[in-house]
């Protein structure tokens, strides 16, 4: 792997962000809106109940889900920049390897999520007294599992757009929302019907949110379950990379990259 090529992918995104407030704003804006919206809702719910549960459980869940979404969108948005500027031929006719290109996208995802995480930490603590440190040592695996899952979804999304063409972008944006009902972010998995619970078991974030509720309720963090979630997230990440590589090979075989905007293959 050539670091110069990886850095070139990151640098391109940095140039775009530096000259474009409309690209920087979403990193903060949606997180800030969610904090305000759900922060006031949870404060209201706390007032109705005698337990002070909603801020760490509900607001925490919203923000952790935002964290996953940012990880995914950091990657897909960087990829879409090449789609929007019809840059595929220029990029893929160079010595860059798919592993280098993907690594660049993942680094962009990391930078995006770290920035939004800091905003989350500060705003949630300053406005609503939510400290993520209340989750204790389990916070590390929580964030790791959500980040790995977000990256896997991001890479899968890019493979989808590469395979189906620019118009399939609209299929990628709602992927986190489609998974949300199964992830049990806002309610225990046990409240779902049997078939949905089966799907939940296959989703790493569901273990995170179950673990988060356990910690908030004063029970110990389910380390075994979190280990399963980490394993699952790693498997999905590997699978997503393989899917991207296979899609890229398909695009090379069929000439899709050379005439990408025509969406001939879809």
């Amino acid at each position: 792997m050539n670091p110069s090529r990886v850095f070139a992918v990151v640098l391109r995104q940095f140039y775009l962000y530096r000259s474009s407030p409309q690209r920087i704003l979403p990193i903060f804006l949606f997180v800030a809106i969610d904090i305000l919206l759900w922060g006031f809702l949870t404060r209201y719910l706390n007032g109705l109940s005698h337990v002070n549960y909603f801020v760490p459980a509900l607001l925490g869940a919203v923000l952790l889900w935002d964290f996953l979404t940012r990880a995914m969108q950091g990657i897909t948005t960087a990829f879409f920049e090449d789609v929007w500027s019809r840059n595929f031929l220029n990029v893929f006719a160079t010595p860059i390897r798919t592993s280098e290109y993907l690594s660049g996208l993942v680094i962009i995802g990391v930078i995006n999520t770290v920035i939004s995480l800091v905003v989350m930490f500060v705003m949630a603590w300053a406005l609503f007294g939510l400290s993520f440190l209340a989750y204790g040592w389990a916070l590390g695996p929580f964030l790791a599992v959500l980040f790995l899952t977000g990256v896997a979804l991001g890479i899968l999304g890019t493979a989808m757009v590469l395979r189906l063409g620019p118009a399939s972008e609209w299929l990628v944006w709602p992927i986190p929302t489609l998974l949300l009902p199964f992830a049990g972010a806002y309610y225990p998995i046990s409240s779902l019907p049997g078939w949905m619970q089966a799907v939940s078991k296959a989703l790493p974030p569901s273990y995170v949110f179950e673990g988060m509720r356990a910690v908030v309720a004063g029970r110990p963090a389910p380390w075994g379950e979190l280990a399963i979630a980490t394993g699952l997230a790693c498997v999905y990440l590997l699978a997503a990379c393989l899917v991207f590589a296979a899609t890229y090979r398909f695009a090379i075989r069929t000439g899709l990259i050379a005439r990408y905007s025509a969406e001939t293959v879809s």
Binding site: R5, A8, E81, N87, L89, N90, V91, P95, G255, A258
Partner: protein, 262 residues
Amino acid sequence: MRPPSGPAIKAKMTTVPALSVEHLAKSFGELRAVDDVSFHVNAGEIVGLVGPNGAGKTTTINMILGVLAPTSGRIEVEGVDLKAERSRALARTNFAAVYAPLPGNLTVEQNLRVFGMIYAVPKLSERIEQVLEEFDLVRYRKTKAGVLSSGEGTRLSLAKAMINRPRLLLLDEPTASIDPSTARDIRANISGFVDAGECGVLWTSHNMYEVEAVCDRVLFMSRGKILLEGDPKTLPGQHGAASLDDLFVAVAHEALKADVRA
């Protein structure tokens, strides 16, 4: 535009060709877009690849650029097998094409830096200054590529194509959308670059005057095959045509008739 500095020596002594294409074929279903094509481009040589629309020129170039896998055949860039060592082969290659403009939301300098890093160009800042000067882009360095005129955009594409001092340069109609004066400057610049180094160029164009002026050798392609090959200055006479333009028209008409018969 200034021609690149360096000794004006045609490096035709190198034994390994800049590009070697052997029995290249590409089928899309029943359509045989490129059909058993073999040719080479020597270092220090400009080879014109001409033919009517749909002849298979761009398909051939896409295969050489590694963005389209051949159905069969072999491509080597300076002896490096493209299929086996894609990254190493493409590190020696670069291209400019009218249908592949650089991202309009980056400035001229940013585009050159990003692509220079992808090609892992040593002393990149120095090299950027050189190509900015060679292609008369110094005053546009902070200008977004999307607001450049056609000629300026073409010069930027060519500057990008030269950034890694490629051993093989692929130019797909590089002067298609620019005025004759700029086109002449660009032709002079590319010829200067080829003369100064060991770069081989494969150049597609529909402008036969340009091909005659620039190319050392020309390949006539039609219906996926190479029909004629030779010196653009003597080839028309050898086939009873008054000019390269007339020869092109004759070949294109033959292709059209064959299409109708098929």
